[in-house]
């Protein structure tokens, strides 16, 4: 039970950690000052949520690991984030589309996590949902603005959604830890979020004058620790300090 809960927490926290890292990479590289600040603020919210999850997870393996160990000292196969969030930053439209496809899910997920039987997870969700609602509003606005924008911005957004669509279905896949924790009333049964997710995503894409991909080929693996090639590079960057100077502190 404790082990399942630990794995469950890491699974949900890794999505926030890895997306937070991706957004953090944009610090000082945003297309303009306002969006640069917005993206790094979102990164900060996600990393804040991650810390709360990891601090909780660390109490379940008391004395064995700290939140820093959990964040920085695992190998690639031990990270259980979905493939969507590890996809590299290319152009701004791509970053926004990746964010949007995650935010819609994240908001629905947080709403359900508020009903968990685990009070610490409920506290994290109650806190995080306020932040995630802002993220979703921000990314939806940009998807609409760029999709229903110039010929060039629409083309880039269409290309982004076509490229990312195959990673969406994995969000609703249940892992072993999920199944165990769903039966305890602790985990969110993500498989039930699917219809509402695609309805919401389609509504925004429609308003953005974008075509909803009819691609039925979906890629998965992240939740089992089998990642795309981008993950190794991301971790090499993220873990550099802890690997070079073990146990270093700020």
């Amino acid at each position: 039970m404790k082990n399942d809960l630990y794995n469950y927490i890491l699974g949900i926290a890794d999505n926030s950690l890895i997306l937070g890292q991706r957004l953090g990479e944009l610090c000082g590289h945003g297309p303009n000052l306002e969006t640069d600040i917005a993206l790094t603020n979102i990164s900060l919210d996600l990393l804040g949520q991650t810390r709360s999850y990891f601090q909780y997870a660390a109490t379940l393996v008391e004395g064995e690991k700290t939140e820093d160990d959990i964040a920085f000292m695992r190998t690639e196969r031990d990270y259980k984030n979905v493939l969507l969030v590890e996809q590299p930053n290319t152009h701004f439209g791509f970053v926004i589309m990746r964010q949007f496809l995650f935010d819609v899910y994240h908001l629905q997920f947080m709403k359900k996590l508020q009903q968990s039987k685990d009070e610490t997870l409920v506290a994290i969700a109650n806190k995080g949902i306020k932040e995630v609602s802002y993220h979703e509003r921000f990314s939806s606005d940009w998807v609409i603005r760029l999709g229903d924008g110039t010929d060039e911005s629409r083309e880039k957004m269409q290309e982004a959604v076509n490229g990312l669509w195959r990673y969406t279905n994995e969000l609703f896949q249940l892992t072993e830890a999920d199944k165990a924790m769903v039966s305890e009333g602790i985990a969110v049964d993500v498989s039930t979020l699917k219809d509402e997710y695609y309805a919401k995503v389609s509504e925004v894409l429609k308003e953005a004058t974008l075509t909803i991909p009819d691609d039925n080929y979906f890629q998965k693996g992240g939740k089992e620790g089998i990642h795309t090639e981008h993950m190794g590079y991301l971790l090499a960057d993220m873990q550099y300090m802890q690997r070079s100077y073990p146990n270093m502190k700020w």
């Binding site: 306002e34 900060l44 949520q49 810390r51 709360s52 109650n126």
Partner: protein, 166 residues
């Protein structure tokens, strides 16, 4: 008011008042409503602190500042971070909102007005420089996660608006 749900020993208030938010130095931690509990037990001051936003980097600094402030009067303080109940902008005191406005940050509006302002449905955020309501949203995220960036269309000054968080 925010003090109703808190448990703070009145004798500790003078010290707590001296500790401010590093991002908005005119606001004390009491104005901000982030101190949920503070009392002395066995010669140790025990403080429960709640973050405004999950990733708020000011929390570590506030924790250090609290320990330093009590150390200055020879007392040891233990600061614990608590997540529940989640902080809301309702916990900012009236005096705090006033000080915030004077500092140049528009204080949070009601939930409905806030939504209107951030969605651009209504011009309700008042410019902290000239008082005009003829303002518009520049970015949903300002210099910190808790603020949005606005610009006044009358005096042309940009200013921060502290977003309503419920």
């Amino acid at each position: 008011m925010h003090l109703e749900t808190t448990h703070i020993d009145p004798s500790l208030l003078p010290i707590l008042e001296t500790v401010s938010d590093p991002e908005i130095p005119v606001l004390s931690v009491l104005d901000l409503g982030v101190i949920r509990e503070a009392f002395e037990e066995d010669g140790v001051v025990k403080i429960k602190l709640t973050p405004t936003y999950s990733g708020c980097p000011a929390m570590d600094v506030i924790g250090d500042d609290l320990r330093t402030a009590f150390a200055a009067i020879g007392k040891k303080a233990v600061v614990q971070l608590v997540l529940a109940p989640a902080w809301t902008t309702d916990w900012i005191s009236e005096a705090g909102k006033q000080k915030m406005e004077e500092y140049g940050i528009a204080a949070p509006l009601s939930e409905t007005a806030d939504k209107d302002a951030l969605l651009g449905n209504a011009k309700v955020v008042r410019c902290t420089n000239c008082g005009s309501q003829n303002t518009h949203l520049v970015s949903q995220f300002g210099s910190t996660a808790c603020k949005a960036l606005f610009k006044c269309d009358d005096c042309q000054e940009p200013f921060d608006y502290f977003k309503c968080l419920k």
